[in-house]
Symmetry: C2
Subunit: 418 residues, 2 copies
Amino acid sequence: MNTEAYMIDLGQKARHASRLIAKADTQQKNKALLAMAKAIDEARAELMSANEKDLIAGREKGLDAAMLDRLALTPARIDGMIEGLNQVAALPDPIGGITGMNYRPSGIQVGKMRVPLGVIGIIYESRPNVTVEAASLCLKSGNAAILRGGSESVNSNLAIARCVQQGLEAAGLPLEVIQVVETSDRAAVGHLITMPDYVDVIVPRGGKGLIERISKEARVPVIKHLDGICHVYIDKAADKIKAINISINAKTHRYGTCNTMETLLIHESIVSDVLSELAERYQAAGVELRGCPLTLNRLPGITPATEEDWATEYLAPVLAIRIVESMDEAIAHINQYGSHHTDAIITENYTDARVFLRDVDSSSVMVNASTRFADGFEYGLGAEIGISTDKIHARGPVGLEGLTSEKYIVFGDGQVRV
Amino acid sequence: MNTEAYMIDLGQKARHASRLIAKADTQQKNKALLAMAKAIDEARAELMSANEKDLIAGREKGLDAAMLDRLALTPARIDGMIEGLNQVAALPDPIGGITGMNYRPSGIQVGKMRVPLGVIGIIYESRPNVTVEAASLCLKSGNAAILRGGSESVNSNLAIARCVQQGLEAAGLPLEVIQVVETSDRAAVGHLITMPDYVDVIVPRGGKGLIERISKEARVPVIKHLDGICHVYIDKAADKIKAINISINAKTHRYGTCNTMETLLIHESIVSDVLSELAERYQAAGVELRGCPLTLNRLPGITPATEEDWATEYLAPVLAIRIVESMDEAIAHINQYGSHHTDAIITENYTDARVFLRDVDSSSVMVNASTRFADGFEYGLGAEIGISTDKIHARGPVGLEGLTSEKYIVFGDGQVRV
């Protein structure tokens, strides 16, 4: 079978399975999730040896250390997968919830019912644990899924897929609810993202290049997250201690995450209270500073920031600093150079907080908290399939609800339009 | 200026204006809407004469009667535009609403704030009243809009646009909040739908051909409605009177609307109670019937329905009828051949109603009510920019809320991630 025919076949099976999983009850879905956890626990040796094959091939192929790290299944990561399945089983089932049933003058009663999206295509890099995460979230939200992991993790993914299938089988659910693309032909992705008859939405997880390419070529909606150019703005009315603690945490807690601060904006009237202490602490932590001309006046040793710096997601111990004359200038900077991901103001001023919350056009806007909190678990979603920087459908951390939609339902007693 | 440069210029102005309209308060937006209504009322003669130019050109061009009818501005239609503006002014402002602020174990408080989408591109056929409708809904929901009407209505649209601009001016809002594309170059649409930097979402309104083309070529999300292949299913447990009244109303109330029934499904055990009366009344109303083999056995004079009939939106006095052996067969038919728009079951059986509501994958699912109720006004949205058959973002009738999104907001007291 050629790749196109193979993908259409997967798509048709997924569409069919999606009708069945949409009506599965909560107990049945949870049973499948718990049985998957058990199957993974019992298949530890098998998973490790499948992963070993991938690691050997990866090393031969010359994958770098970071890629090999993401590819590796350790006992702790397997524990994490099992724990994740148990957690998703414990989450409330979003499907079927009815809200807002109101009577209308015609006598009909109108409201909304939460329903699955249908078939979700997930495209991710060589991180085998994503296979379990994506499968569990799609299943719990009543969707069928087609999973396409990086080709370097193919043996690991297939071993995990067998455990997933065992879970579905134990719960009496069709195996086609979760399908893993088995061909390593790269054309498979091209087909997956252009089958609107069989796939309702694509969730790509990976680097910016992958996501940009998929968004460009997709013929179905994409729930995506491009980059996280996050800001902290220290307002004129900031509490100095909060400003310093949050600015340090937002940059140095982890460097490689999308909710890490990349640019620090400081109001000129407070800069002398905070900048030298911040600079010392950043430099002690090994963070390279780059500054606007006003910052350079105060920290003459650092690198000048270019236009490009303001628009860069470093994902590294590098920080751009700009001194602004007003909050409006800070907001304009964030809306122009940021990626509409997560931005925070540090202030004790009520009106400044209110204006910043309204005017910053980002998926998360915070007052006096570290940008690092932008996360499905921290927000109480229980799990996260990604963080969306789109404005349509889900925005910000996407949990189970982001994988659902609402349809209108109408109750009548024989009403007709007059 | 060439068309591309012109559209980019419009886009940049719209993006800038969107930041300003996003922070306009309710009073200012309502002031603009009411001033638009006043300007239109005062410009009646001017609007009629601009429209006359379009009508003369349209007749010369050989537009058909239906197109000329949609193009015509009558005093009653101008009244309707004014009434519509007053109604939108009276609607609650969706912007800025904060919901679900809950404390998390970390001490941060997380919730959502409703915000505009940004810049909305509306592409529609030669119906000048849509210019006012689209402008008012975008404005009230805090968005900037770029409106591109059919080239046959260019004079009418520009005359209306002048009234819209007067309203914006009277309220002290930037004129670029609502821009009408002034070039009749068809390439303008191609640019409008491929400028993700300046346009956040496209709403096409018009025939299926237009919408399919736009969906295919767009590089920004599209809130769209392709077609309305709506069904009424008369269940075995239907009340006969309700079944007949609703089936007649859903087909004959209006033929050209998207929520009109196109296929009637009847459970075999109730068919002898309803079919002959229905057939008589349809035939008396001039509705052509086409049937499955079982229907033909009972109504031998009618045309056999083909596979194509089940998948056709007639928009005309034609109805396909199929007799089914079970509700599951009806649901499978609807999910396979329908357009996921609006489908109704007629039943007195509680469990059948519940299963139908869950399993029919359409934007509106009804029990004992006419499909003709699928409408923003009937649902209480106050206004409607269209009906979405997509699953992502808005589904079903799209009112003001469908032109907005929610961002997360976080209140902290200096919290950092540990």
